[in-house]
């Protein structure tokens, strides 16, 4: 019997899980149908923030306070909550999973897509922005190729301070190298800790998050993100064969 094939996203997440696993990261999950507190409040997104508008977030009919999670950062929040309950001061976790945004779709946007979020937390001073850079550089190098470099640019996210945009220098086969926006990141905001019962005077850490489809598109030259979750096996079999 001929074996079948896993979906390319499965292949990608296996590589990601393997690389981060070697850096000490576990994998966590959380609900896709989230509550407002974990998705927004706990992550320093105030009640009147534009991201909470109907035009950005899917809300649930007849269930006030329920949303389809807009980022897997919410898993970070739930994991921090678990750390607080278990009395731990150290954790490294990645959370690959589906997220939802109420926005028009095109070749680079879908209303549902996968995100890879991750965080590393430790006693204050032990996990820094320099570690974030080192971790992401190691990851993108292993995932995209040896020549990859990483740079930070200033950015803003409610749940990190400082916040940075992460670019990776990537050379696609047969093309010239260029800087590509890969993910958003930063140092976890003190609010992220205090809102779930951790003491921001005692723990600190970094977090990052970005679209997994984007990584796939960059790595394999996929022209349209909408191909990925269309349930079409021509996509699954659309990659030049390479031996495992």
């Amino acid at each position: 019997m001929n074996p079948g094939r896993p979906h390319p996203l499965t292949v990608a997440i296996r590589e990601i899980a393997d690389i981060f696993g070697r850096m000490g990261f576990g994998i966590a999950y959380g609900p896709e149908l989230e509550d407002e507190f974990h998705n927004f409040d706990a992550l320093n997104v105030p009640p009147d923030h534009p991201a909470r508008d109907m035009q950005d977030t899917f809300w649930i009919k007849d269930q006030p306070g329920k949303v389809l999670r807009t980022h897997t950062t919410v898993v970070t929040s739930r994991e921090l909550e678990r750390m607080a309950k278990e009395g731990r001061t150290e954790a490294r976790v990645i959370a690959p999973g589906k997220v939802f945004r109420n926005e028009a779709t095109d070749t680079t946007h879908e209303a549902q897509f996968y995100q890879l979020d991750g965080f590393a937390v430790g006693p204050v001073g032990t996990v820094t922005l320099a570690h974030l850079k080192g971790t992401l550089e190691c990851f993108y190098r292993e995932y995209l190729g040896e020549g990859v470099k990483v740079r930070f640019r200033p950015s803003f996210f409610g749940f990190t301070e400082p916040s940075v945009e992460v670019d990776a220098w990537f050379t696609a086969p047969g093309k010239e190298g260029k800087w590509l926006e890969m993910c958003g990141a930063g140092m976890l905001h003190p609010h992220d800790f205090s809102s779930v019962g951790l003491d921001p005077k005692k723990v600190a850490g970094f977090a990052f998050g970005g679209g997994i489809e984007r990584m796939l598109m960059v790595k394999y030259g996929i022209p349209d993100t909408r191909l990925i979750h269309a349930g079409d096996i021509r996509f699954v079999y659309g990659f030049e064969k390479k031996t495992a």
Binding site: P6, T10, R14, A17, L129, P190, H229, G231, D232, G238
Partner: protein
């Protein structure tokens, strides 16, 4: 925010570096540049800095800090006029100080409305704004320069009582209507905040969004009331959204500039009006119930370095704050910054660390590996799920991924994007059936003859009882027994044990090859092969003759009779840019047959 380099240059004696260097300075130390062309630059001001940087002054200030060159003048650091309140020519009343944090009004008499001077016209046009008249242009100029939205009303269109006009800021009444400057009329509800002519109780503007046409500046205008106010960001944003009326003013107010800015905006406006339209300011009234204050923020050298992973010195940090014009006191290791009124974003020690990091440059942060962590990372559940997938792939199943939205279900979205799919799926069944149907139709493109598609998906489903992770297959695995289920709830399955220590199969994918949107054509060919040939060389012959439209060629039958061997191949033709006609494909087949015959094959 559209910025003109020439406008920015007004803030510096020293000539600014070229556009590329300015763009890089912003990109790596402050904000992304969305677009740059000639004198114009579109700066993507970050949300936390939109309170002070949606203007040329704010962006010049940033540039001064990044490039370390002094500003020639900073209008927000100049002393404020002690305005002569004079005769009370204007009364101002704020109904709810939470929605209107400050309202300054000035009455200017004897202005001359007309075209703007060339410099003003040019300055506005350079950033894509249309020149209207000297008064309106002045309000726009000051807003784009300092970030304070302003408005000018024709004073004679307001009712005077006891020698004074009256401005009231209040909620709209249900059903109240207003015609704005564009001529469009809007029906209002109490959530909308209005500027009202208090003596007549008629609306003259939608607070923070747009002025009304009733007090519009015309060529006949001689006396004006200038508004320099501050409205609550949420209220303005909701109004702009509800009325679908996003304006330069609403964009600024929704980012909560400091109410302190009103006075500087008014000062600049009165100066500019003098220059471009003349007239006398006869009175300035300021309703400012709760003056805004910012608290000092303290941090330490080691705290900043401990967050950034850097080894910056106190001297370097002090220098950053000096360049940013943030008053900073140093006491041993402790740095205390007192933010100037417009820097409403500086609230916690981490904010100061960010200022240090971005101004000195994140390129100075050295990538550092995390130290090893005790214990094995917990990936057991993940590996359990993936082990299930490996089992199915081994059994010939192909994994698909589909959308979570469905035509019907137990849980519905309050605001679906696609009205035909307003619910969340309760099972993977429907999507998987659709995927299978399509897979069967296109199977010859991806599978050899005789292989039918078998699919599975792992995904979250949302029945009333609560979401769970479902695994669903399009058919069973015979080897697992006749009654083995084709669906599983992975949220209750004990996958941690199953996954612990399991080594996942690794796959390496090559570059993606897009598939054609056009239908494919199938043809079979069976031949008696001449002596000395085999299936491989026969296939090569066919492929050579068929050319690039042949996307697949599979041997599906071989048999021997009378010392001869017969091969049967199935050919799949597909074009990336058109539907192939029968004639075209038959032509290719004829060419293949001819060549094979010439090489000693006998077509069966």
């Amino acid at each position: 925010m559209k910025v003109s380099l020439k406008w920015l240059q007004k803030y510096f004696d020293e000539p600014l570096p070229n556009a590329q260097e300015v763009a890089d300075a912003y990109t790596f130390h402050a904000f992304e540049i969305e677009e740059a062309e000639g004198d114009l630059m579109d700066v993507k001001v970050l949300p936390n800095r939109a309170a002070d940087c949606l203007c040329h002054r704010g962006l010049a200030k940033e540039l001064a800090a990044i490039l370390n060159i002094p500003l020639t003048r900073d209008p927000l650091r100049e002393p404020l006029h002690m305005w002569d309140v004079g005769r009370p020519t204007l009364r101002i009343e704020i109904e709810d100080p939470k929605k209107c944090l400050r309202y300054m009004g000035a009455v200017v008499k004897g202005v001359q409305v007309g075209p703007s001077p060339a410099w003003l016209k040019e300055a506005l046009e350079r950033v894509g704004q249309r020149s209207i008249n000297n008064l309106v242009d002045a309000t726009n100029y000051v807003m784009l320069d300092l970030g304070q939205p302003l408005h000018a009303f024709d004073a004679h269109r307001l009712v005077e009582r006891g020698g004074a006009c009256s401005i009231v800021v209040r909620d709209a009444k249900d059903g109240e209507r207003i015609t704005i400057l564009t001529g469009d009329e809007y029906g209002l509800t109490p959530e909308r905040l209005l500027i009202v002519d208090g003596n007549a109780d008629t609306p003259i503007g939608i607070a923070g969004v747009k002025g009304g046409s009733v007090a519009e500046i015309t060529n006949a205008t001689t006396d004006i009331i200038i508004e320099s106010a501050n409205f609550d960001g949420t209220s303005v944003r909701r109004t702009a959204q509800a009325l679908k009326l996003v304006t330069d003013a609403s964009l600024r107010f929704q980012n909560r500039p400091s109410p302190e800015l009103c006075a500087y905006g008014m000062q600049a406006m009165l100066e500019l009006i003098q220059k471009v339209a003349g007239g006398d300011a006869v009175g300035v009234v300021d309703a400012y119930p709760n003056p805004a204050t910012l608290s000092p923020v303290s941090t330490t050298l080691s705290r900043i370095n401990g967050l950034l992973g850097s080894e910056f010195t106190t001297q370097e940090m002090q220098d950053v704050f000096l360049r940013l014009d943030l008053p900073c006191k140093v006491d041993g290791e402790t740095l205390t910054v007192t933010p100037p009124f417009e820097r409403t974003d500086l609230l916690i020690p981490e904010d100061l660390a960010e200022e240090v990091g971005r101004i000195l440059g994140y390129d100075r942060i050295a990538p550092t590996e995390l130290p090893p962590i005790a214990g094995t990372p917990d990936q057991a559940r993940y590996r359990g799920i993936e082990r299930m997938k490996d089992q199915l792939v081994e059994q010939g199943f192909t994994e698909v991924s589909t959308q979570s939205f469905a035509k019907s279900g137990d849980v519905y979205l309050a605001n679906p994007l696609d009205a035909t799919k307003p619910a969340l799926r309760t099972s993977l069944d429907e999507n998987l059936a659709d995927a299978l149907e399509r897979a069967c139709r296109i199977a010859p493109l991806v599978f050899p003859p005789g292989q039918t598609p078998k699919l599975f998906e792992v995904g979250t489903v949302f029945p009333t009882a609560g979401e769970y992770l479902e695994l669903r297959m399009t058919e069973g695995v015979p080897a697992w027994g006749k009654d083995a289920p084709t669906v599983d709830n992975l949220s209750i399955a004990k996958l941690e044990e199953y996954g612990k220590g399991y080594e996942l199969k690794r796959y390496t994918l090559g570059t993606y090859q897009p598939f054609s949107a056009y239908p494919f054509a199938l043809r079979d060919i069976a031949v008696w092969a001449p002596a000395g040939s085999d299936d491989g060389c026969t296939k090569s012959l066919i492929e050579q003759e068929a050319g690039t439209l042949l996307v697949r060629c599979d041997l599906f039958d071989t048999f021997e009779k009378g010392g001869r061997v017969s091969y049967a191949f199935r050919l799949v033709f597909n074009s990336s840019d058109r539907t192939l006609t029968d004639e075209e494909v038959n032509g290719i087949m004829a060419k293949i047959s001819a060549t094979l015959t010439k090489k000693g094959y006998e077509i069966r």
